[in-house]
Every structure is written in structure tokens, then in C-alpha cells.
């Protein structure tokens, strides 16, 4: 019984065997390539030629010439191909993608196939959205996945003449809830809110913004070390549309409470570990800059103090801090 026998002196035999197998594979590959070029040079745009490229691409999906040739053939015999062919083409790219998820040529071919689908365009692209959903389930922080998602969504919106913003917003929220450190999800949130506000898709804007403020406050208390959250907050604080939508009083309160929370969190951090939280220092800085710009009264200004701290704590950006220091009244 072969099961679980302790290995002995197999390695040399194994290597020899492997070399033999490799040689066979190389020969077969080379002959496939030769055949393909022959066909192409003979202007062979038949269904059989597609098979040739299939075998070749199965062995080496990065051979872009083969993809191009394949697309040329498909385009020229378009009228002879039925829906089943196109569905198989999608299946083919999916099989390849599972083996080689990072090869751009396969993605390109998939998008080309989706774009050229002879019918049921909307259904096809909606199906693609579920594919992206599954992808992002497996790796929710893959920005390639998110970029692809935006592309798919825009195609669906184009074909259906509707906006998916609200649904996407809920999707993004669920992704952030699962993992606050999902930078791509926060980034998408920015895109969505900007778009929704500009297209007037939010009924009670002030309420929406106030809920958003609660959301990010919850986030910084749950994890004050996560950069994704802080980048988002800086955007929120500086985004002119938000400032314009809130009343002067509401906006002042927003800034003031955020500053108080940041100070509280920082004080707690110093108390616990003796270290300052650089993000807290930075956000307070940004707030005070805006407050000065708006000629707002600043309660217990700490900018000078914090800038001096940041010069030491974040030496990479020390020149910026020195510059800001010089600009203080």
C-alpha cells in the first residue's frame, strides 16, 4: 500500500522523469504555436482555428497574439455563431481566470466578450456583477476587483438607464461593517456620496450627513489606528458640498465635536500606552485650519503644540509641518 510511506531516495528519479515530461510539453507547445501562425498567415478564419487558439491559450494564457487572432476569427464569423458559443466563451475565460487570476489578457478578452454579446446585454452584465460580488467576497480589499466593479456598474447603468448608487451605497456599507480597514470600500463611499449629492438622489440630505457623522464617529472609536477611516474623515471635513449643505451652526458643531472626540481618543491613548495618536493630531490640525479660515472661534487652540509634536512623530512630512507652523498667526 502506497499510502503515507516515508520517502526514501526518490528525488533523482523524480527529476529525470520531470525533465522527460517537460521536454514533451515543450515540443507539443512549440508545434501548436507553429500551427497557429500557419493558420493565421493563411487567413484561416474558421471555427476549427478557434480550437487551435483554445489549446494554445490553455497552456499559455499570456500569449496575447493568440487572443488577438481568436478575436479576429470570432469577429469575422460572427453570423455563424450562436448564443451558446458566446456563453462558452465566457466560461472559457472564467476557467482561465480561476487558474490565472492576475493575467490582464484574460480579463481583456472577458470584457470584449461581454461587450460583444449578441443579445441579452443587460442580463449578461448583471450576471457579471454577481461574479464581482463573489470575487470581492473572497478578497474584499482587492482594488482591481473594485475598479472592475465600477466598470461593470457603469455598463449596467448605461443599459438600464438607471442609477445603482443607492444599492451600491448599501453594499459598500456592508463591506465596511465587515472590515473597517477596507480602503477600497471607503474610497467607493466617497465616489458614491459625491455622485448621489450631485444627482440629487438623497431626499433628506442633512439627515444623511448627520448619520454619516455618527458612522465615522463609531469608526474612530472602534479603531483609531485605521488609516482608511481617517482619510475618509479628512475628505468629509474638507468636502465643500457637505459644508454647503449643513447650516453654519451644524457645521461648526460637526467640527467641534470631531475635535473633542479626537482629543479624547488621543488623551486615552497617551494614558494607556504613553504614545500619541498621530491621526488624531492631524485631524485636529485640519479642523483648526478650517476654523481659522471660517473665522470661527477656536476653543483651546493646539495647532502650534501639535505641529511641533508632529515634526518629531512624523519626520517624513516635517517640512510640511514647519511650513504650516510658519503660517500660524
Amino acid at each position: 500500500m502506497q499510502h503515507g510511506i516515508k520517502r526514501r531516495q526518490w528525488t533523482k528519479d523524480l527529476l529525470d522523469q520531470k525533465r522527460e515530461d517537460d521536454e514533451k510539453k515543450i515540443a507539443s507547445y512549440k508545434s501548436l504555436v507553429k500551427s497557429m501562425f500557419q493558420c493565421r498567415d493563411n487567413d484561416d478564419y474558421t471555427y476549427e482555428a478557434i480550437e487551435l487558439t483554445t489549446n494554445l491559450l490553455d497552456m499559455n494564457p499570456e500569449f496575447n497574439t493568440a487572443w488577438n487572432y481568436r478575436r479576429d476569427i470570432i469577429s469575422s464569423i460572427k453570423t455563424q455563431l450562436d448564443l451558446g458559443f458566446w456563453k462558452n466563451e465566457l466560461k472559457f475565460t472564467m476557467i482561465q481566470l480561476k487558474k490565472f487570476p492576475k493575467v490582464y489578457w484574460i480579463w481583456n478578452h472577458r470584457v470584449w466578450t461581454l461587450d460583444n454579446f449578441p443579445s441579452q446585454q443587460l442580463t449578461i452584465w448583471q450576471g457579471e456583477l454577481t461574479v464581482v460580488d463573489a470575487l470581492l467576497e473572497l478578497d474584499s480589499r482587492n482594488f482591481h476587483g473594485w475598479h472592475y466593479r465600477r466598470m461593470v456598474i457603469s455598463k449596467i447603468e448605461e443599459l438600464s438607464h438607471s442609477s445603482l448608487n443607492k444599492k451600491e451605497f448599501d453594499y459598500v456599507t456592508s463591506k465596511i461593517n465587515k472590515n473597517i480597514s477596507n480602503y477600497s470600500a471607503w474610497h467607493q463611499r466617497v465616489q458614491l456620496i459625491t455622485d448621489m449629492l450631485s444627482k440629487d438622489q438623497i431626499t433628506d440630505k442633512v439627515d444623511f450627513i448627520k448619520k454619516e457623522i455618527d458612522y465615522i464617529t463609531n469608526a474612530i472609536f472602534t479603531d483609531a489606528e485605521d488609516q482608511s477611516v481617517w482619510f475618509y474623515i479628512v475628505w468629509m471635513v474638507k468636502f465643500p458640498t457637505i459644508r454647503a449643505l449643513l447650516s453654519k451652526e451644524d457645521y461648526s458643531n460637526f467640527l467641534r465635536e470631531l475635535k473633542d472626540n479626537a482629543l479624547m481618543i488621543n488623551a486615552d491613548e497617551v494614558d494607556f500606552s504613553g504614545k500619541e495618536n498621530v491621526w488624531c493630531l492631524k485631524i485636529v490640525l485640519e479642523i483648526e485650519i478650517i476654523q481659522r479660515l471660517l473665522c470661527e472661534p477656536i476653543v483651546e487652540a493646539v495647532s502650534k503644540d501639535y505641529l511641533e509634536k508632529l515634526i518629531k512623530l512624523d519626520p517624513l512630512r516635517q517640512n510640511r509641518y514647519r511650513f504650516l507652523l510658519s503660517k500660524l498667526p
Partner: protein, 610 residues
């Protein structure tokens, strides 16, 4: 004579799925006394004789056999597993009488009730139940799991996820909230509490590297540390200590409890959103049997119904009850549960573990998450009517584990409380569980428009008269049907708050050189009986310690190099597979786990179907 009935074996039940990446179907090796007949004779000479086929002994047998030692592994019972066995109801009946006849060392006070519904004329057949004598849960990041992967014994087993941990507080069961995700989305936690909890979680994941934070508290209890340093409140403190840390009482010291809490948190998300796994078809009984099969492949000889009578360290001859003898070149290792008469060298088993196991006629699905079939309930100190000083821990196993038929489940309760109080605590916990499952599974209070009314100024009031009626009605409607109830006390020499201490074995080392006249067990190394510990934590440590005593060092403990059946089973680009035999790497390496090797464990991790 072999047992009249036993559970279906690993070979008899095929794995419930097939891995497409396996070129040939898995062959589970046969084991003497199950698929193969018992050998008529035993070898004349062996390197190591191991007596008892419990967890520690079986892991040891496999480790030694793969290392090259010649092992004879025997058990006086007619089943495998010894103190860790998984038995049918009939086997349990027999086991209980044996305890009450003083035939099984280290067990006492066994009481059993079995309803007529279980039996040849009853609703349920005895062998459809697999009852663990030593119920355990396995952490996803643990040394046992590493060994299971390294030795490939995991291939004979199937595991299921267990993600539900309930804490019993104020007469109700609260589900655990421990991940950043749950803390973030929890609407009831105040903001500063969220921050404090997260601070602690981040700290504990790396606690050994931050002595400046915990060392000032190293002799204090964890509760003090959590309140002082992290400003946590009682509910969070209790959850962390008792449900996540699975500690036994409030006095557990800081370093031990931090280790236990960390163990839970790092196990989370290794294979999925759960920290713990449970073995299907039976827990420790199946796993120890798996290691025996592995040992058999590596050359160990197995014999059941073989009772050691005496060992003579001078002649190195071990004698069995049937008259056969074997010469043992190196060492004799024995479980205290197999100790023969006149075993004066056995260390005192002075700690008690009290257990109460019930078969309940309810499917208890209200307690399980999604598609899981098991849960853990923890009763912290002073949460029960009996005023328990020690924790009561309960594992609930549903029928999805194939350890009991549909519509039933098994409740394993245990406590490290010593003495007669223990039974009171177990009974109180049982009662609380019965009330809870009835409440959760009974039909809801009927939607009655007149039950809740809204007054003119917007307040809602409940028609208390009607509510009272509803409650009265459903409380008397149902009672939990117990199909079986088993009490027993198991003795151990592992103190209830420690994992096995290597120093415990030095005790027997002194005695190896000091022979007690007329003792039947001079020169024998005793293993440790299972303790009250709910996880398998102690097993590998204990096996390693003994391994080292025999072999000299534990460097090559399970350092096995398996020949792959198919050397052509290579990656697409023609290179040999570079996977690590260890799906779990050591703590000091990267936390990332290579999931590709655990095809068989993907049963519960969602697979992408496109």
C-alpha cells in the same frame, strides 16, 4: 471477545464528499479489532509498550512509530479510545456498571438513566448515538490541528465549525461579540467601551511582546487587570474571561488567561468566521482512533482486550492477563485508567472532573449558528441558582454531527468544582438550559392586537393580564424530554487551571529509579488523565514530554516526510507542488494560512460556484 455493538467505523462510512484534486480515492487503513481481526500473538520484543488507547497515548504511538520505534499498543477494553472513547448507549451502560464494580481506575460515582425510547424496541437505536467520555473542542490554531495535518490523520476525519458561544448571565443566554466587526456594528455598546474592547483585543493578540503593560499585574487576576488597565465593565470582563478565555473561575492569573483569550482570537478566521472545530461522528474517540490507524500504517501492532498485569523493570518483561509476555527494550507508557492491581507507583489523581451528559429529545437548532450543529454555553461563577463558585461549561452537539439521530442532541456539562457541590452546579446548569431551550423553541406568543396598545401620548403599554395568561399557558405546555442522563466523576492529576506541566512527569522519573517492592508498575511512565480542559490543549504537550523521555529530544516529533502517491501530481507549470505540510505554521511565523492544502476541510467554507 469483541464488543457486541460499536459505532460504525471510519472505513465503513465513506467520506461524505470527494476531493477532486485527489487522483485516487482515500483508503482509510484498517485497524485490528475493528476491520481486521485481533492478532493471535503479540511480538516477542518491542521498543515501546503503550497501554491504553486514549488521546495522549495514541498521538504518542503514532509519533514513535513514524520515528521508527517498534511499538506495541494495547488496551484492556474491547474498544479504542479508553478515557477518550466515543461509545454507544449500550456500551455506556456496560461502562457504568464497570465503574460501579471498581473495575475502571480513575472513575467513580457513575449514575445512568436511559429511557425506553432507546433500545431494540424503542424509537432510537443505541448505536446511532456516539457519546464522548471526554468531550472536547479543537481550536483552529492549535498544536493538535498542526499534528493532524502533519501526520495526515485529518484525512480520516471530518470537522465542522462551531462559532456560537453563549454566556449565561442574569438568567439569559448572551451570544458572544468579540470581533472588530461585531463591536463596530453593535448599537448597544457605548463608544468608549468599543474603544476599550478593541484596545484589549489588539493588545492580547501580541501580549507577550508588551510586558510593560501586563507585568505589573502578573500575579493578579485577569479581572483586576481588565478593569484597571482597560477600564472594561463586568459584562465584557465576564465574556472575555469565561466565554472567550474559557477559564474556570475569577481568580485565573493574568499570563494564563491572556494565553487562553489569545488562543480563541487567533483561531478566529483561520478557516472561516469561527474559532473552533468539532469532529464529526465523535470527538476524541475518533481522533485517537485516527492516530492509532496512522501508527498501524507506520508499523505499530495493535491489540484490544489485552490487560497488563505486571511489568518487571529488571527483566524488562511485561506480562498480560492472557499469559502472553513481551520484552520491552525502551519504556512502558501507561494511562492511569489502565493501571493494574498493585500499581503503587501511580501518581495520586487528586483532582475531580464532574460530568453530566444528557441525550435530549430536541434538535436545539435555536442555539446553533447557520448550518452548524454545535455550540458552547458557559455559566460564569455565581450565575446559577446553586451559587456556583466554579464555571460550568457545556458543549451541545446536534444531530448534524452524526453523533445522534435527527430530533435529538447531546448536552455535555462539566465543572472543575471539587466535591459534592459539583452535582448541584451541574443540575442547576441543566435546569437553566432546559428552561432556555423550551422558551426559545416554543411557539411565539400569538400576535394579539390587544396585547400591546398605544396611549394617547404615544406610550406603548402591554396588557399585562393577557401577557400573564400567555406566559402561564406556554410554560406548562412543554417539558424537555431526556432520553438519557449520565453522571460521573473522572479523576486526574492535572490541576484544574493548568495545562499539563512537564514537571508532573519528573515525579515519575524519580520513581523510575526507586522500585516499590511488590508493585506491578515499577519503571512505568504514566500519562495524564484528561483534565477539565475543554480544548485538546494538553494532549500534544503531554505526548511530546513523554516522547522526549523515550527518544531523547522532541526535535523529530512527527517530522514525517510522506511519499506522494503520484509524483506526476504537479502544478500546471510543471513544478513540484511547493505546499507546506503544515497548514498551520508556528506562532512566530506569518499569521497567514495556506488554505490550499485543506481540501477536506472545505466542507464548511463557502466555495465559489460560478
Amino acid at each position: 471477545m469483541l464488543s457486541p455493538e460499536r459505532r460504525p467505523s471510519m472505513v465503513e462510512r465513506r467520506p461524505s464528499f470527494f476531493s477532486f484534486q485527489q487522483p485516487t480515492p482515500l483508503i482509510v487503513p484498517h485497524l485490528a479489532g475493528i476491520e481486521d481481526p485481533l492478532p493471535e500473538t503479540t511480538p516477542e520484543k518491542v521498543d515501546v509498550l503503550i497501554v491504553g488507547t486514549g488521546m495522549v497515548e495514541s498521538v504518542l504511538a503514532a509519533a514513535l512509530s513514524w520515528q521508527g520505534s517498534n511499538v506495541l499498543h494495547v488496551d484492556s477494553n474491547d474498544y479504542y479510545g479508553d478515557s477518550s472513547a466515543t461509545l454507544t448507549v449500550e456500551q455506556i451502560k456496560r461502562w457504568v456498571s464497570q465503574i460501579n464494580d471498581n473495575q475502571i481506575p480513575c472513575y467513580k460515582n457513575a449514575k445512568l438513566y436511559v429511557s425506553n425510547d432507546i433500545g431494540p424496541n424503542g424509537k432510537y437505536q443505541s448505536r446511532t448515538f456516539g457519546i464522548d467520555l471526554s468531550p472536547k473542542i479543537m481550536f483552529a490554531k492549535s498544536d493538535l490541528l498542526s499534528i493532524l495535518v502533519k501526520s495526515r490523520v485529518y484525512q480520516y476525519l471530518e470537522f465542522q465549525a462551531l462559532s456560537t458561544f453563549h454566556t449565561f448571565e442574569n438568567d439569559s443566554f448572551e451570544k458572544l461579540q468579540n470581533s472588530r466587526q461585531e463591536i463596530f456594528t453593535n448599537d448597544t455598546l457605548p463608544l468608549m467601551t468599543k474603544r476599550n474592547l478593541m484596545k484589549f483585543i489588539k493588545f492580547v493578540l501580541d501580549w507577550e511582546q508588551q510586558p510593560e503593560i501586563w507585568e505589573p499585574y502578573k500575579d493578579k487576576s485577569l479581572a483586576e487587570f481588565l478593569v484597571d488597565k482597560f477600564k472594561l465593565d463586568k459584562p465584557q470582563v465576564f465574556e472575555l474571561i469565561f466565554s472567550i478565555g474559557l477559564c474556570y473561575n475569577i481568580d485565573t492569573k493574568v499570563p494564563e488567561s491572556l494565553q487562553r483569550i489569545r488562543r480563541y482570537l487567533i483561531s478566529f478566521d483561520v478557516y472561516g468566521p469561527f474559532p473552533v472545530l468539532y469532529s464529526k461522528y465523535g470527538g476524541a474517540g475518533e481522533i485517537s482512533q485516527g492516530f492509532c490507524r496512522s501508527a498501524a500504517v507506520a508499523g505499530a501492532t495493535y491489540k484490544l482486550n489485552e490487560k497488563l498485569v505486571t511489568y518487571n523493570p529488571e527483566t524488562k518483561i511485561a506480562t498480560f492477563e492472557d499469559g502472553s509476555k513481551v520484552e520491552v527494550e525502551e519504556k512502558v507508557v501507561m494511562s492511569p485508567s489502565q493501571a493494574p492491581e498493585y500499581s503503587y507507583n501511580m501518581p495520586e489523581q487528586k483532582y475531580e472532573v464532574h460530568r453530566l451528559t444528557c441525550i435530549v429529545e430536541k434538535n436545539c437548532s435555536e442555539w446553533f449558528n447557520n448550518s452548524e450543529s454545535a455550540a458552547v454555553i458557559v455559566f460564569p461563577p455565581n450565575s446559577l441558582k446553586s451559587g456556583n463558585k466554579e464555571v460550568v461549561q457545556a458543549i451541545i452537539i446536534g444531530s448534524g454531527s452524526e453523533c445522534c439521530p435527527d430530533g435529538t442532541c447531546i448536552w455535555y456539562l462539566s465543572t472543575t468544582q471539587q466535591g459534592p457541590r459539583a452535582e448541584m452546579d451541574l443540575d442547576a446548569a441543566l435546569e437553566a438550559m432546559e428552561i432556555s431551550i423550551i422558551r426559545e423553541s416554543s411557539t411565539k406568543i400569538p400576535e394579539d392586537d390587544n396585547l400591546v396598545q398605544v396611549t394617547q401620548d404615544g406610550h406603548s403599554i402591554v396588557n399585562s393580564f393577557k401577557l400573564g395568561q400567555s406566559f402561564k399557558e406556554y410554560v406548562t405546555r412543554e417539558k424537555v424530554q431526556l432520553l438519557a442522563k449520565l453522571y460521573y466523576t473522572q479523576l486526574t492529576n492535572t490541576p484544574p487551571f493548568n495545562v499539563v506541566n512537564p514537571a508532573l512527569f519528573d515525579h515519575s522519573q524519580e520513581q523510575i529509579n526507586k522500585f516499590i517492592p511488590n508493585a506491578s508498575d515499577n519503571g512505568v511512565i504514566y500519562t495524564a488523565m484528561p483534565s477539565g480542559e475543554i480544548s485538546y490543549d494538553e494532549v500534544v504537550t503531554a505526548a511530546k514530554v513523554i516522547y522526549e523521555k523515550i527518544v531523547g529530544s522532541d526535535d523529530d516529533f512527527f517530522d514525517v516526510d510522506f511519499e506522494d502517491e503520484d509524483p506526476m501530481a504537479m502544478g500546471n507549470d510543471g513544478t513540484a507542488p511547493t505546499y507546506d505540510e503544515n497548514a498551520i505554521e508556528d506562532d512566530d511565523e506569518d499569521e497567514d494560512v495556506d488554505m490550499n492544502r485543506d481540501d477536506d476541510n472545505n466542507e464548511f467554507v463557502g466555495k465559489m460556484e460560478i
